[in-house]
Symmetry: C2
Subunit: 126 residues, 2 copies
DNA sequence: CTAACTGTATTATACATCTGATACGGTTTG
DNA sequence: CAAACCGTATCAGATGTATAATACAGTTAG
């Protein structure tokens, strides 16, 4: 209950905007249930120090999440995840479709058969 | 034999650098066999007009491919794909690993089981 | 041969991303 | 209460991406 959102296992990938990586990490955590409604987020300053990025970059990610309704911020207090059923269903559908579609398209364009693609995903699962 | 590389089916995705999309399209075409050794590429000007982007953007993609050894350019004449066995194997491994790994990671982070992930890929295959 | 096309290069501009430094007022905590 | 932390905001600068307008020399085709 009201746990602190952990960024353990988060690693920065080169070439992709950092604020987008933070967005994706939090959305995927919410969809998987690792992050729950009411969980507190690390402050902008703390997270930026943890990730080694600028506070403004974290602020941009948090701000966009707030505009999507996944975060509630009150000036002076820590921000909190807001995850009602409707929002969760929307984000889940958004992420599932995007990830599955892009994966299928990439592997098909490489000339793989469906069976070969499934076998490859299975091999890289762990 | 020495066919012209076709960009039919190529659509610009927002948020990803255009020169990277051109790189990926040509690499995937080469790996799948749709593009073959010796095939002529559309000129920088023609392709930029076809895609509705700036010639410099196409030039950047072609230049990077030449640095990787996948394209041969001779000032004044059309550029040509250079796809020996070794290069193809390298690019194939590079793309397969990147695509499969990122897909597996994304779907697993969403809390899906391996079976659910495979079923999802299958659903979005066509 | 000549015109049209090709690769290559340069300069300027615009926008998004990221960083760095700083500041202000609100909230929490000892 | 007071110090420490918080969210928020602003300004400047660096870099990467993309556009726009040219220019020049080499190759190709009629």
């Amino acid at each position: 209950m009201t746990a602190l959102v952990s960024f353990e296992g988060f690693t920065l990938a080169p070439g992709i905007p950092i604020y987008q990586q933070i967005l994706l990490f939090l959305k995927r955590g919410a969809v998987s249930g690792v992050i729950q409604n009411g969980d507190e987020l690390p402050s902008r300053r703390v997270l930026s120090a943890l990730l080694g990025v600028n506070p403004n970059t974290v602020q941009k990610a948090y701000r966009m999440l707030e505009e999507e309704g996944l975060i509630a911020s009150h000036s002076g207090a820590k921000s909190v995840m807001v995850l009602d059923g409707e929002t969760l269903a929307r984000v889940r559908a958004e992420l599932l479709e995007a990830d599955a579609r892009s994966a299928a398209q990439a592997l098909r364009q490489l000339g793989l058969t469906k069976a070969e693609a499934l076998a490859l995903i299975e091999r890289y699962w762990e």
